[in-house]
């Protein structure tokens, strides 16, 4: 029973995350903030530039030719 509760809890949180993430992706960055947004994403701590997001990092890895 505990295992089912665990699966259910994770499923609920995953669905919530996907829904919020989808809505956030659909919401455009306000025009006046675009420059500030691009500057803020200019983090040089790791190889993944412009975002900490996994999806963008994978796209960038595919585009990068070693």
């Amino acid at each position: 029973m505990e295992f089912l509760y665990g699966v259910l809890a994770v499923t609920i949180i995953v669905v919530f995350y996907i829904a919020v993430s989808y809505q956030n992706d659909k919401t455009e960055v306000p025009e006046g903030c675009q420059e500030a947004y691009n500057e803020a994403q200019n983090c040089s701590a790791c190889g993944s530039k412009n975002s900490c997001g996994i999806r963008k990092a994978i796209i960038e890895m595919k585009e990068t030719k070693l």
Binding site: E2, V10, I13, E28, A40, C43, C46
Partner: protein, 196 residues
């Protein structure tokens, strides 16, 4: 009154003695990546403070009032990662839609915080009763940790900006001198160990 004293001690301790960056080494990637410009550092610090406090305010009750009573406390790490990621996305979306000014100053740094291990690390640490005794103490410890993050990253950025105009040997330019500076700051913060 005694309780307030304990909360104050928790705040100072988590900010200076158990500093999230220099003592527990969490959140190092944003610490090194964003500290080149002072303007970025203020926005990042504000975003970290907001996200850390909101995350703990959600994850602490979630653990003690939902996961533990259901006997599934062991999934806390997975649950917290997802909850923090969702909370960050939710805050970003709300700022984008309704508070453009606040989004420009703080919201633009939110995508960098989604995967910030300091947020997850503090959310998990405060579950330990030796670390935070109740919900209020957990929030104070979290606030102290976030303020400690801000204090250190602002100081570090100021030093890096000064170093840019100095004649640093070629082999040490850039990240090497930044890491040496961070290690010296860490040693300096060790000296605060006897404060409380």
């Amino acid at each position: 009154m005694e309780y307030l004293g304990i909360l104050f001690a928790s705040l100072i301790s988590s900010m200076l003695i158990n500093n999230v960056l220099l003592s527990t080494f969490l959140g190092i990637c944003s610490f090194l990546g964003v500290s080149k410009k002072m303007s970025n550092v203020w926005g990042m610090s504000a975003a970290v403070i907001v996200v850390m406090v909101i995350s703990t305010a959600i994850t602490y009750p979630l653990y003690f009032y939902v996961l533990v009573p259901l006997g599934i406390g062991y999934i806390n790490t997975i649950a917290f990662i997802l909850v923090i990621a969702a909370v960050v996305q939710l805050i970003e979306m709300l700022l984008k839609r309704y508070m453009e000014g606040l989004y420009r100053g703080l919201g633009v740094y939110l995508p960098l915080i989604t995967t910030n291990c300091a947020v997850l690390g503090i959310a998990l640490s405060v579950l330990d009763k030796n670390y935070a005794m109740d919900f209020m103490d957990a929030l104070v410890v979290t606030l102290g940790s976030a303020l400690g993050y801000a204090l250190v990253i602002v100081s570090f950025s100021a030093i890096r900006i000064k170093l840019d105009s100095k004649d640093v040997p070629k082999a040490f330019k850039g990240m090497p001198i930044a890491l040496i500076t961070a290690s010296l700051m860490s040693l300096a913060f060790l000296g605060l160990g006897g404060l409380i």
